[in-house]
Symmetry: C2
Subunit: 299 residues, 2 copies
Amino acid sequence: MFSLKARTHAVGVRNPKLKSFKTDHLYHIALDTAHNDLQEMFGDVKCVCFGGQPSRMERFTKLIREEFGLTPSNGEPPRNYAAGTDRYALYKAGPILAVSHGIGIPSLSVVFNEIVKLMYYAKCKDVTFFRIGTCGGVGLEPGTVVVTDKASILGKKVERPALANKELNAEILECVTETDEFKTVTGTTLCCDDFYEGQARLDGAFCDYEEEDKVRFLQFLKEKNICNIEMESLGFLAMCSSCKGAGLRGAVVCAILVDRLQGDYIINDIEKLHQWQARPQQLVLRYIKHKFGPQNGSL
Amino acid sequence: MFSLKARTHAVGVRNPKLKSFKTDHLYHIALDTAHNDLQEMFGDVKCVCFGGQPSRMERFTKLIREEFGLTPSNGEPPRNYAAGTDRYALYKAGPILAVSHGIGIPSLSVVFNEIVKLMYYAKCKDVTFFRIGTCGGVGLEPGTVVVTDKASILGKKVERPALANKELNAEILECVTETDEFKTVTGTTLCCDDFYEGQARLDGAFCDYEEEDKVRFLQFLKEKNICNIEMESLGFLAMCSSCKGAGLRGAVVCAILVDRLQGDYIINDIEKLHQWQARPQQLVLRYIKHKFGPQNGSL
């Protein structure tokens, strides 16, 4: 299914100044180069999975443990390596890191920077980043999984290319099977800086437009082939693109929680929500198994 | 010190559509109008204090309890009303709400919307919002507390006025005493969408500029009378301004953790950091005591 590349690339940073610092504090994840042996702790990392909430990333880590037979015999819960702060959470199972990024591009950008530096100090090679998240859909059924092929902000000049890595996306889509109980599609993701007004919702504390305006906006998105709407893809793919050729590539895989052509509200059925949120995790996990599973000798 | 106003204003929303919804889910704080009696739970709220981290807001809640003699005899820790999710945390002590907002304006805007709606459904009156946070300083000593008088983005058109409420700021500054072990100043706050490049730091994963460019940028900020730099003030004050006349006003009070003219790094001394972070809390707490303390019959 996948071919193993003969050449490897160490993760690099686009910042030559880091070499001149004696100590570097990864402040928001409470790690530093003086007190932590980052290479010893994280040198084997091959995949970093980002998601909004700490609890979701902890559950994902438990899933990886189960799937790869990595659950410790004492049943200890996964260690949060960023426990010195509660800004973000950082778990590890085998060569997989699971990181929470909060909501929105600014929040993501802070932890993304520090994770790239972490990979650099740990001397990791050929690392793949995933955002495994949730989103609204445009004319697509809730529960559908979307692999982003392009992230866009409409009506705004975007200076950094935020294109997905085609090769990686193709590999992820190869992991879709006919027996999946959910649909997986690929398409363009609209990235917004807000959940309410910015996404034309009618149920925020501020709303100066009418339902017709909202419908017109969403229809316009549909005509532009927008599949889904969330709040991090643009920054995520732009930063991954910036790292191209530096041992790092990334993809955005999100589950739709509401079809915005049908409404604004996310359903209240917690069990169903958990089921849907687990779908991008399942898909990415399948990719990880194919790529780094025992048959490839990496786990 | 303060005069009690005879007229009160119920907190309003700038969204007439809310009236037509049967149920409203405050999705990101896991509360809704169908299952929670929001007026019974939150109807007495007079102040909402926002801060980045859940743990800091929990500590702040404990401080309020102690100061106002509200600690329950069984010593139970403060209840997290948003425990159904881990996107944000929401604590309450007497008429004070303490809410975490994460990092950056998009993250803040989501919870700000839902808290305004919460105040509206709870029929709260004349509520004051505070952002109690941390920031970098421009030519000001770490540990200094800054009360924002204006939030700005340089070189970018800002369409919503993000001015502070002068009256409220004056009341806060009246709470500064000569015996304070820290300095409190008021001035303009630069609001950025990023912690690293956006704030001209040299220690991010990306850095395409030189130290001279950074120094020039910071000197430029100083000439423009920028006091401090953080990531939420602009959205916070803009949204508070949008609510003007609707029973809601707000202020931003932050502790400086690093003088950016001296460096990029936040010190590693956890105890000192905690001390500094507690200063805006102390100042706002003093304000709350003056305004809502026993002598005014509200607590």
